[in-house]
Amino acid sequence: MLNAVLNVVWTLAVILQIAASVLMIRRNLHRRFAPFFAYLAVQCVRSVTLFLILRLGHGPASYRLYFQFYWVTEAICGGLCLLVIAGVSQSFLQEYRVLRKIVPVLMISGLFALLAFNIYLTICAPGGESKRLISEILLLNRSVAVMEVGLVLGLFLFSQVMALPWRRDFSFGIILGLSIVAAIDLVAAAFRTEMGSFANSFYAFAERSGYLLAVVTWLVYIFAPREKTGEAVIIEPACDDVGNWNEALTELLQK
């Protein structure tokens, strides 16, 4: 029963992420969000290849191939995900001149803090997996999830404290989807690391469901309207005040 549900979730996620990639190309978003497009493309190739290995392969050689391909692509996706989160955060925060100097410092110190937290976690809770290789892979996977969650947590916290408004555009959708993936991945990876192979099914289900939710989020935000200039001015210009414009603007810009 669980396997059937897993297959449905997986297949749905594959179809939707292919649709999202195609839509990104059609709406010319693949150039503007190149790292995210690369992430999505790698996820597409990964899902299809893993599905094929699982369906067509037999025996221990096929399992080994599945295992190696799964974890290698997981590492690539983890790296790309971090890159996308860092990129979107940077472009969001650097809209403000005041933050341009602070943002790199904050990001670097945040990354070092997360690294230190990961080292502490690895020492304190090495996990309940008996096989050494799997244990190390799971720890690495959990560490990447901690980094991802830490980055989005920092970004959301900072934007809330500073009251920075988010525009409801595709870059917001990207960060939202990746936050869903990261948060669910973190809980699943922590549980899997703690409980050992006993939690395999839960891990697989949580990971795939989280990814499906994220893909749906991206699809919704691909259709988000682009920001247009000249339509969002709050204080509507009064037609009879044209004479005041130059005078007031000059005064304002001199300040």
Binding site: Q160, L164, G230, A238, N244, L249
Partner: protein, 179 residues
């Protein structure tokens, strides 16, 4: 199991923040009347007096230490309230500035960007000042320099008045009174 609980808590915090961001920290400022309804007025003269180092030095020299500490605590609590108001208004002004920044007129857009920077700077200073004033309530004898906030707030208020003068000259005095 403690690590699992800790990491799950982190994930829950992310989910809560995500919900807050999606819902919007505050509803966007719709127009100038909405802005005026939501802003919190700041009595700049009173605020300046509270954070004036000369005023503080005068009180320190003319009062007994115990009386000074008691009075200084009250002054810093009042200054904290004013700073909270400036932080709140800075957040509203940031929304207005971001909207103006998207204007098709390049000069107006530039003015909006400059105002966004000022509002953000004020917000950062206000948050730091709230922490400092809080410390000053605990340790009233330690001198605190908070006059920068009043100065920056005045500058931002002038910018907002300038923007209003460009677009709605009739509302300038109302906007100034609302801030």
């Amino acid at each position: 199991m403690i690590v699992f609980a800790l990491l799950s808590a982190l994930a829950v915090i992310v989910a809560v923040l995500m919900a807050l961001v999606v819902r919007g920290h505050a509803a966007p400022v719709r127009d100038i009347s909405d802005f005026m309804a939501r802003s919190k007025p700041v009595d700049l003269q009173a605020f300046r007096n509270l954070v004036d180092p000369k005023e503080e030095a005068y009180l320190r020299s003319s009062l007994r230490p115990r009386e000074f500490r008691r009075l200084q605590r009250k002054r810093m609590l009042a200054a904290t309230e004013y700073t909270r108001r400036t932080a709140h208004n800075a957040a509203l002004l940031l929304q207005v500035a971001n909207a103006v920044r998207r204007a098709s007129d390049p000069q107006l857009s530039k003015a909006g960007a400059a105002m966004a920077d000022s509002a953000l700077q004020l917000r950062i200073y206000s948050i730091l000042a709230i922490c400092l004033f809080g410390l000053s309530v605990i340790f009233p004898s330690v001198p605190i320099r908070g006059s920068e906030i009043a100065f920056r707030y005045e500058g931002l208020r002038e910018r907002m008045a300038g923007l209003t003068r460009i677009q709605r000259p009739a509302s300038v005095s109302e906007v100034e009174a609302a801030l």
